[in-house]
């Protein structure tokens, strides 16, 4: 085990020794933690020698020792003020909101969790609809584990893979808090549940862990946002597990808008039972090093998942999206579309894996990854990976890397738009394709504003003007920027 792994192991051990980990009376939980610690001791932290980390160096996480924060409400309040919380509000969005600061529940900034079901019921227009909010529990993980751990004994830790990379094990072993959302069968809360994670303390190491259990035929919208107060470095290693019962529907949004010095290793794992529907939108506009592992397992027949992603990166940002869609049952569908806009020296990785298990006949899976390079210094490594063990399936994938279309640019200029404005308009249109897939209007509008501001922010787009649009290609190999061989090989292919 190298020094960095030892450091993070020590962070977990210190919490345990201090009695700072929740649910100490739950034996099953302790067993999970012990197993995770053992796992971490065996695998350590990933390195670029691992195939799944070939293009992503975790050096920013190891050169600087990120540390647990002390659970101290006063110190926290000094850094995060009600004004920060107000500023972080999404205009017009009525949600049930839980706020976490450096991975710990901030009750003073959160909605009263005991009242959530009541508040939600009161939203309904018709009396006959008044049971809308009934059957929903939203609670901080630590509190729930201390009081009623048995409520999540059979779900916590069962969706995320036990044999994933070291960061997942580290989270299993050392998560102190997070959000739990439990929906009883048929529960359909009116308001979305919003989980706001804030990086606040300098060099903080936060490990939030979230669990969503959607009972049969329940439906919920979830928004998980990560932001920063201040521009200093921080490291968040989060895991979100989502278990969907038969016919359940979860619309989940992961919004990563931390400061340019904050790092985020993020695991999102969903398991879909029969006829359930999981819709996942990932929007990454902030962070210095961002690594997302997103896994969806279609475990019951007629389940469907949509994975839509947008990453807009500039400066020295590095955004790595590893996705795995596992078709474990027959008659399931999955649709994955990821788009990237990369400027300056930004680097992105997209690795999309589709696994069709033996017996998962009539699978219909598509995957698309399109990238726009606005600068010669930007780089994308895109790699689709299909593993198909059934013989009656439809799987298609494709990846493109290119620059802004020269014909479209000229067309806009010929209509009087300045070059910078024309570039922004085309870049926005490219990216907005993903935002357009977000059903929640308030969230979509807020993200649209964020993206617009980002593109108008001078450097973000206009800095790339010298980037060879003369090549004019919108296809792979268009020039400017480096492209991994995986993308070249990835024209549309079908196997049926």
């Amino acid at each position: 085990m190298n020094a960095a792994a030892a450091h993070y192991l020590e962070q977990c051990r210190a919490l345990e020794a201090a009695g700072a980990l929740p649910g100490r009376d739950a034996g099953w939980l302790q067993a999970q933690r012990d197993a995770a610690l053992q796992r971490f001791e065996t695998v350590g932290l990933p390195s670029q020698r691992d195939e799944d980390w070939k293009y992503t160096s975790i050096r920013p996480l190891t050169v600087k020792p990120f540390r647990n924060t002390v659970a101290n409400g006063d110190a926290r309040a000094a850094q995060v003020t009600p004004a920060h919380i107000e500023a972080a509000r999404i205009d017009g969005l009525q949600s049930h909101r839980l706020v976490f600061i450096d991975g710990l529940f901030a009750e003073e900034f959160s909605d009263a969790v005991d009242a959530i079901a009541t508040v939600d019921s009161a939203d309904s227009a018709k009396p006959s609809d008044s049971d809308g909010g009934a059957g929903i529990t939203v609670a901080p993980l630590a509190g729930l584990l201390d009081k009623t751990p048995e409520r999540i004994e059979h779900t916590l830790g069962t969706v995320a893979p036990r044999c994933s990379h070291g960061f997942t094990a580290l989270n299993h072993a050392g998560a102190r808090d997070g959000a739990v959302v439990l929906l009883e069968p048929g529960a359909r809360p009116h308001r979305p549940v919003e989980l706001l994670f804030i990086n606040a303390a300098v060099d903080a190491f936060a490990q939030p862990r979230n669990l969503v259990v959607a009972g049969a035929n329940s439906a919920v919208h979830l928004i998980e946002r990560h932001i920063s107060v201040g521009a200093h470095a921080a490291f968040t290693n989060s895991v979100t597990e989502i278990a969907l019962g038969d016919g359940a529907q979860v619309d989940y949004h992961l919004i990563q808008a931390s400061s340019a010095a904050a790092h985020h290793v993020c695991g999102v794992w969903a398991r879909l039972a029969r006829a359930s529907r999981f819709s996942c939108r990932t929007v990454t506009v902030g962070g210095r090093l961002v690594r997302n592992d997103l896994g969806a397992e279609l475990a019951g027949e007629n389940a469907h998942c949509d994975l839509f992603g947008l990453y807009a990166a500039g400066g020295a940002q590095h955004v790595d999206n590893h996705t795995t869609v596992t078709h474990a049952a027959a008659h399931c569908g999955s649709c994955e579309i990821y788009k990237g806009v990369l400027d300056q020296r930004a680097r992105a990785v997209f690795h999309g894996r589709i696994v069709v298990a033996e017996g998962a006949q009539k699978t219909d899976a598509t995957q698309t990854n399109n990238n726009l390079l606005l600068s010669r210094g930007a780089e994308i490594d895109t790699k689709p990976q299909l593993e198909i063990y059934a013989d009656d399936v439809k799987c298609a994938h494709g990846a493109t890397v290119g620059q802004l279309d020269a014909d479209a640019l000229f067309y806009l200029r010929a209509r009087g738009l300045g070059e910078a404005q024309a570039r922004r308009m085309l870049t926005f249109a490219f990216a907005n394709d993903i935002l357009g897939r977000i059903e929640n209007e308030e969230l979509r509008a807020a993200l649209s504003d964020t993206l617009t501001a980002r593109l108008a922010g001078g450097d973000a787009v206009d800095g790339g003007i010298d980037a060879g649009i003369d090549g004019g290609g919108k296809n792979v190999d268009g020039g400017g920027g480096k492209i991994d061989a995986g993308a070249r090989a990835a024209s549309n292919r079908e196997s049926s």
Binding site: D407, Y411, A414, G416
Partner: protein, 254 residues
């Protein structure tokens, strides 16, 4: 309004225009005809300022100013409009959004106040009615999934909105059936005015039955080899461009 003198231009180092001379006055409609490869579309693109078309000699004065020195967007804001032969599809940018950005860029350039959403919507609906375009198209992505006729009609809608002083219509008739051609031409004709000029580039005389030009010029090998009134177009219709393959045209009027 427009004075082209001894214009020479090349594309990828190949000389395409070899000394074009043409003067267009306000209120006039000029047609440029000629066989494929004669340089008609190159002339249109040079006037609009497209990248990749290199002017190697001559001058173009627009209202006394050097047109070739202006960036494409400045030409547009100064009232020069190119109706594209192949209008570009722009997924994700709605027609409405582009048109609003466009007219406001032009208004701003003229020192006029930008139109607000309400005023713009009222104006664009009037213009859509003028060119007989269904309002539904305003809310769709620019040209995406439009038929050939719809794309050309969309060009005319833009023209109707921007009210350019000088318009170049590059093969606006290509790919149109007779009904679409007629209605697109109607739209163009409504924009004819004493203070506006047009240059209509076409391969066929057919379009000129609907947009009746004041002058017709024939291009061949990058030069205007004949000029006349609209009867010249009819003559070309009868006799074709066969003579263009000979070294000398049958007669030269310019």
């Amino acid at each position: 309004m427009l004075e082209i003198k001894n214009l020479n231009a090349s594309v990828e180092d190949k000389a395409i225009l070899n000394g074009i001379d043409l003067a267009i006055q306000a209120g006039e409609v000029h047609a440029i005809m000629g066989p494929n490869g004669s340089g008609k579309s190159t002339l249109a693109n040079v006037l609009a300022g497209r990248d990749g078309y290199e002017v190697t000699g001559g001058s173009v004065a627009y209202n006394g100013r050097d047109l070739l020195d202006m960036a494409p967007e400045i030409r547009a804001r100064e009232g020069v409009f190119l109706a594209f032969q192949y209008p570009v599809e722009i997924p994700g940018v709605t027609n409405l959004y582009l048109l609003k950005a466009s007219i406001n860029a032009i208004r701003k350039h003229r020192g006029e106040a930008e139109l607000n959403a309400v005023a713009f919507l009222k104006l664009i609906k009037e213009k859509a009615a003028l060119v007989k375009m269904s309002e539904e198209f305003l809310y769709r992505s620019v040209n995406e999934g439009f038929s050939g006729g719809e794309k050309k009609r969309n060009e005319i809608l833009q023209m109707a909105l921007l009210e350019p002083a000088f318009s170049v219509l590059d093969e606006t008739d290509s790919g149109l059936d007779i009904d679409a051609l007629r209605s697109v031409a109607e739209g163009v004709n409504q924009l004819r005015a004493a203070d506006r000029a047009m240059l209509v580039v076409t391969h066929y005389q057919r379009l000129l039955e609907y947009i009746v030009p004041d002058f017709v010029h024939v291009m061949h090998a990058g030069k205007i080899v004949r000029s006349g009134d609209r009867s010249l177009a009819l003559e070309l219709e009868r006799e074709g461009y066969g003579w263009a393959d000979e070294n000398e045209p049958p007669e030269t009027a310019s």
